[in-house]
Every structure is written in C-alpha cells, then in structure tokens.
Subunit: 345 residues, 3 copies
C-alpha cells in the first residue's frame, strides 16, 4: 500500500485544500465506507446526508459548497467526481502487463496479419486471414474467426469470440465472454418446422466502442449489424441482426434490441429495456430502465414504461392507477347518493 | 466482390423479371439502405413506404403487387422474403472451413469416441467417455464434459460448454458461449443458510435445435431438462432445471423459464419474457415480448402483459388505464353536479 | 444402471416404508413422469393432483399425509423434498474426476501460487501472482487474471474468467462462463463523447458463494464490489460496480443490480428483476419476479411490481385496474341517470 499526503492529492486533482496537507491517506472510498485515513467525494447535493455522516479524513467537494463540519479536510474543486478519478488513479495498481508478441500457447493461422506490437495472449486462436491492428491486446482464450479484423489499440478480454468476417474498429474494449457475429435469429415457419434463414451478413463495430461482458451482437442476415462510433454497451446486452446503433449511444445492462431496429445518435437505454424489431428511435431518445419500447419515437423523446410512453405520461398514468381504489369508492358513493335521490323522486 | 446480373438473380430465385436483365448487382441490402447497384425485397405492405423511397436497382416483390415506379427493376415472386434468401446466398462468402480431424492444440481424452469426419477445432477439450457424432464441427475453445455426447452434423461455436453427461442430438447448432448442463439453482433454506440441493440430472437437447450465444440451460435435479426437436432458442435465454420445452418452440432473446415448467409444442415466447416455475403452457401458446407469465395457459392462448393475460384483454386494460385521468375528471364533475342538486333539495 | 430396492431407499433417507421392500427401483423421477420402477416425491399439498395420477412405483410423502391409493408404495418421512435428495444421490453417477495437479496443456505463470492438491484443468490460464487455494478445481479453459486469488475447496467451471486482483473465498462454486471483475460501466459525458471513468477497484466474493453460468459481476470504480458469504446467484445475473450483496442473499436468473446499490442480508430477488443504482434494500427484502425496484425498501419488505411496491398493494392495484372497464361503464351510467334527472328538473 502506498500512502499519499493531502498535498499530493490536492495537486493531483487541482483542488484547493482546506486542512492539514501532511495528513496521510491510504486510498479512496465511498462516503459511507470511508475511514479517517481515506479520501472520498461528494458529487452533488443528493449525497449530502452521507457527507454529513462520513468518517472520511478528507472529501472532495464543489468549490462553493457550504460546510459546517470542521473535523475533516476539504478538497474544493470544479467537478468532484471527475477530480476523484485522478485520485483513484493515483492509488490504483498498474494494469496487468500485456507482453508484446504471440504467447507460445496461442494458435495463430499463418495467413493472419498481426500489426506492430500486438499482444496475443495465452491459448488464443486467430483464424485464417484475420487481421489484428497494431498495439492491440488479446487476453487469454480469445477466438478470432476467419477473415475477422480488429483495429489498432484495442483490448479484447478473455474468452471474447469474433465470428468470421466481423470487423471491430480502433481503440475498442471488448469485455470477457462477449460474442460478436453469431447468427441472427431468423427462421421461416414451414409445414415441416422452423427453417433457418441464412445469416450471411456481418457485424461492424466502429471506433471507440466498449462492449460489456457476455454481451451478444448478432451478425446481419445481409449487410451488417452496426455499432456506431463511441457507443458504450454494458454487460449481457443483446443486439439483434441488422440493428443499427447510432454514434455515442449508451446501452445499459441486459437491454435487448430486436432485429432491424435503428437507433439514432446518443440514444440512452436504461437497464433491462426491451426494444421491438423494425422500429426507429431518433437521436437522443432516452428510455428509462425496464421499458418495453414497441413503437417509433422521434428525436429527443424521454420515455419509460410498459409499454413505453412519454416519461411524464407514464408517471401521470401510474399516479392515476394508484388512485383507482379511491376512485372506485367515490363512484360507489355517487351511486348510493343518486339512488337515494331517485328513490325519493 | 462478385457482380451478378439481374438475369442471374431471377433464375436463382425463380422470379419473373421486369427490367433490364443485364444490369449488374453487387449485393443485397435493405430497402432503406440499398444503392442503385443493390437488390432489395419488399416482403409485405408494411414495408410499402420504404419501397416507395428506395434507391435500390431492383426489388423482389409479390407477384400481384401494384407498382407505379418505373425507375427500378422488379423481380416478382411468390414469397419475396424466401426468394431473397436465395439471392443472399448467391452473394454470401463461403462458411469458414472446418478441417477434418483433431487440431493438434486440442485436448481429446483417449476414451472419447469421435465419429467419422469430425472437426475438433483449436484448443478444444473433449473429456473422458465423451462422444462426438460424425461430421460434427467443434470450433475453437469448446469444452465437452465427461460422458457428454453430441450427435451427427452439429456445429458448436467457440467457447460452448457442455457439462458432464449432457446429450445433444443431430443437426444442432450451438452458438458461442452457450452453457448446457450447469447446476440448476436449487437450495434449501436451513438455519445455517442456503444448503445446496444436488443437481444429479442432465440436459437432453433433441435433434435440429439451435441455441443462441451465451444462453444457459441448466441440468435437472434428477432426470433431464429437455429441449424438444426443432426448437430454436435465441441469445442469452435461460432455461431452469427440469424444464421441458416442447418440439418446434421458439424462445426469443433473454427469455427466462424457471424450474419445472413445461412448454407444449410450438410455443413462442417473445424477447425478455419471464415464465414462473412449475407451470404449464399448452401447445402453441404465444406470449408477447416482456410478458410476465405466472400461471398456466391452455393450448393456443395468445398472451401478453404484466402479468400476462389474454393479449386482447391486456390491450383493453391498457386502453382503460390510459383513460383513468379522464375518468377521474368525470367522477369529479358528477360529484359537483350531484352536490349542486343535493344542496337545492 | 443400478437397481435399488425400496428397503435400500427407506434406509438411505430414513423413511418408514409402506409397501414391498423387495421392489426394485431404477431411479428418481417427477410425479408426472415417473414409471412403475421409479420413485418420486410429493413435497406438499400443491402437488396432490399429480400424486393422485402418478404411475410411480413408490412416493415419498409427509408422515401424516392421508393416502387412499393402495397401488403404490409409500415412503413416509419428515421432509419429502429433503429425503428425496438422499434418494437422488443414491442413483447419481459420480461427479467427473478432477485429477490432481496441473494439466500439461494449462498455462500457469511461474509466479502463481498453487495450494496443495489443486486441479488445474486442460487449457487453463493462471496469470502472474495469482493464488489458487488447496483442493480447488479449475475445469477446462478457466482464466485467472494477474494477482487474482481463489480460496480453498472451490470449483470453477469451464470458461470462467477472473480479471486481475479479483478475490474469491473458500468453498465457492462458479459456473461456466461467469465473468468476475470486468470494468464497471462508468462514463462521463463530455462534449467529445463518453469518456471512460477508470474502474480501479476489484470484486470480493466471500466464502460459500455460488455464481451461475454466464453471470457477470463488475469490478468497482474504487474499493470492491462485494458478494456476501453464502449468497447464491443464478445464471445471467448482472451485478454492477460497487454493489454490495449482503450475506445469504438469493439472486435469481437474469436479475440486474445497478451500480452502488446495497442489499442487506438474506435478500431474495425473483428472476428478471431490475434494481436501480444507489439504493438500499434492507435485510430480508423479498422482491417478486420481474420487479422494477426503483427506491429504498426497509428490512423485511415484500415487494413486487412495475415499479415495485408492497406486494399486497400491487395485487390490489392490479385488481382495481382489471375493473377499470366496469368502473368506466358505471360512470357512464351515472352520467346518464344524472342527466336524466337534470333534464327533468
């Protein structure tokens, strides 16, 4: 363990220190867990109650936050969350090494092209005609299919699978167990049963994409399933065949997108959301977690619910549904009163 | 890239050509993306708006579809979607080769039985007493447990895991990362905590089944979890212990089926649907996406919702719920009017 | 196949036999599937209809259950489900062997520490400075990252991935394809797009935990994502970064828990449930399947729904919603009657 002084921390993250600069800190922690030799951060007013109770020795806070407590040091900065990243880095152990070259246990086809300074990890398989860009790292057990390609400066974690012809751009991170290019789920009903529709397309992942652990992105029936530049997909996400995800989209864990659906740029889908096939979500559409998205939505829509509607509309409908019991009582009362009047007619 | 003339295409899919048979086409594409040297298809009236705007050079259309546009060639056929499959195949690169025999990096136990012309890929492990049927292909990193068996003419993609004793029939396709035969989730609550209930059964996958990437099918507590002949499971599907899936069922992505539930033949479950344990779904039950299925349903039921009810009933209930606000206003108005009358009594 | 007499079975599970002790049984089966040479069990009144129709030769039943059928043998016992486990074990084939030592195809870094009697399976990779506890079994294709550690008496199934520094306690079972320690999904929105927030923490799995196939547990931004002692996670579960799962919790298949959420002890989450980030669920909270949990819940709460509310409240709200159509009719009727009266004023 490395100890760092508060002075070190303040200079690492460009914060203004209020407190003892010589105090030694052993690492970062959340407000609720931090001990007196740890540093934490208070990103916004939401975490104020935790701030008031924290036992941390020092806390990163916004420049203008009023603080009554005198028992802890403050590191005042523009953006505590961002500044905390610098602190976290300061204490973080280095990333595991990725030795240049091909590990002797890896199986690399003679026809594969390896860029400069690649690291092909233990027990990987790189198929015929595959291409791996310069400085890209394949950790253990990665499988690269025939004719697939990975750009420069990527990292593919253990057990990642790229089927044949799948293309991944530069600076992508693919987490363990993710599968790119399995057949799309296409079958035709015939008297003799489901007949497989060949899935002859591929998957195209643009630059700067991150894909979560055990996510699956299916190959297209024809053409390509596309993940736009800079998009970030979380764990266990499913992307159906011929889907297009626009640039800079954010797809949270366990979301599923059915075939041929198109997302614009900067779409954000909350965890566990399901999106029907053959629909369009415009630029910047945001869906809350566990939404069932079954129709088209124009750019900028904020939606949620089952099925998904305008976020505000879903909230209002839920509020009314919550009053259904009361409404039912009022109707019964109306009936009673009216009946009484009618009987006195 | 191979170019094909429209005459080639028409004969490949048995279509009647209206247009210039010498026009050269570079490949298939969707109506919305196709360029003048690409061919597309219009499967049904649903896609008519895209058809009217497409820039494709040629489009497969139903025999009797009325078309005003004169600027594109038509390929008239019985079933455009099916015919398009023939076109897609025409342009598709060949499947990756699967060299016969055992790759030198694979580890195959001496007691395993390998059928004629199998292809055991790089870095696979085939355990003791396992059996692999004739012509079956294991891609890289497949793990076949002790005493497990795979039928003839199957393809298991990279990273597939079969636990011990799991049985897979003939002509099955198992996509990358799928896990067959992990322990069912069975625990008994005791004062000292959750005590594991041994999962001593297995998994039995019948012929002609396809299983999606990273799907999981748990082994039975006793007997077998069964996937009926010709069923098609999509990515990230979860099948609990002792579940029985009837023949020809279609289970879309991210569906979960809890333990001991039985599905009849030809059941269709939409994506993200959850099915409770110990229930029965009759032949041909169809559940819409994201349904929460918590009770038995007789053969032929069409269900949807949270919880799942008859599809029509869910739609009606949603329509009424959407009018709850209006209803509330009407009740308030009734109260006002009645009060007015009562005050004038 | 081994045959066992009913006398054998009765003594194996401590049951009182009513029937022919010499009858030979070939194995266990469910009530609905059992044949005359098989034994089944009737755990509770819920399964009475199946009991009345079963063709099993013998059935384990509660001590005091009244039985009219004379055509099958009874094994009376305190807890038929638990006793059945003893029967299942009697017939179960032995677990696959796990030969001591390191398989010659495995790649184990020279700096890794292996405990006594470990079994490192074929084609595994154990990285630098990793530690594997005594008697722990790694099946095929397991990847242990740099500095990661696994306690004693664990079993890691094929394709499990531990990223660097992840710690797993003693007596844990991790099923195939599970990924522990992938980066948490943390990105900061900036004008140039999503900027990755480094995930410098780790994952800490305590003793006696079981983790399902293809589950994912993300590493913390700082500190550790923690899975408490004795917790059982099912297949395809997602645990976000910095989540804390209390001891003895039960997380069913396809549940997703977003970042920084804390679960108390003994929390039970039904399948497909989604839990929002930064919330607290107290000890013993139980959520029904497919719940959308978006707020804090105190210890002992029983919740369900979309969004999750008290279980009873959700049921009541659903009952009222189901009557919305009827209510609407009653309001129309009231309006008609009142109008009639007003017109007669």
């Amino acid at each position: 363990m490395t100890l760092r002084t508060l002075n070190d921390l303040a200079s690492a993250c460009g914060a203004l220190l209020e407190g003892d600069g010589a105090l030694e800190i052993r690492g970062p922690a959340g407000l609720r867990d931090a001990r007196p030799d740890e540093v934490s951060f208070c990103a916004s007013a939401r975490f104020r109650p935790d701030f008031e109770r924290t036992r941390a020795g020092a806390v990163l806070v916004p420049r203008d936050m009023a603080v009554a407590r005198k028992d802890l040091a403050l590191l005042r900065c523009e953006n505590p969350s961002r500044a905390f990243t610098a602190i976290v880095r300061l204490f973080a152990p280095p990333r595991p090494a990725a030795p240049r070259g091909v590990h002797p246990s890896a199986v690399v086809d003679a026809s594969a092209e390896l860029g400069a300074d690649v690291s092909i990890g233990p027990l990987c398989h790189v198929g015929p005609l595959a291409r791996i860009g310069a400085r890209t790292i394949l950790r253990a057990h990665v499988a690269i299919g025939e004719g697939a390609s990975v750009g420069t400066d990527c990292e593919l974690h253990p057990g990642v699978v790229l089927y044949d012809r799948v293309q991944v751009g530069a600076r992508c991170i693919v987490h363990a167990g993710a599968v790119l290019g399995a057949d799309g789920h296409g079958f035709e009903p015939r008297p003799e049963g489901w007949v497989k529709i060949p899935q002859c397309g591929t998957v195209l992942v643009e630059d700067d994409v991150e894909i979560g652990a055990n996510a699956t992105i299916d190959r297209a029936r024809f053409g390509a399933t596309k993940i736009g530049r800079g998009s970030k997909l979380d764990n266990l996400v499913h992307i159906g065949h011929n889907v297009i995800v626009g640039e800079g989209s954010m797809i949270l864990a366990q979301v599923g997108i059915s075939g041929s659906t198109r997302l614009g740029r900067g779409v954000v889908l909350g965890g566990h959301t399901g999106v029907a096939g053959h629909i369009d979500l415009g630029d910047g559409v945001r869906a809350g977690g566990m939404s069932a998205v079954i129709g088209n939505w124009p750019a900028g829509s904020e939606i949620w619910g089952y099925p998904a509607r305008e976020h505000k509309e879903t909230l209002r409908a839920m509020a009314h549904a919550a009053r259904a019991e009361e409404l039912s009582k009022r109707v019964r009362e109306l009936e009673r009163r009216l009946e009484e009047r009618e009987s006195h007619r």
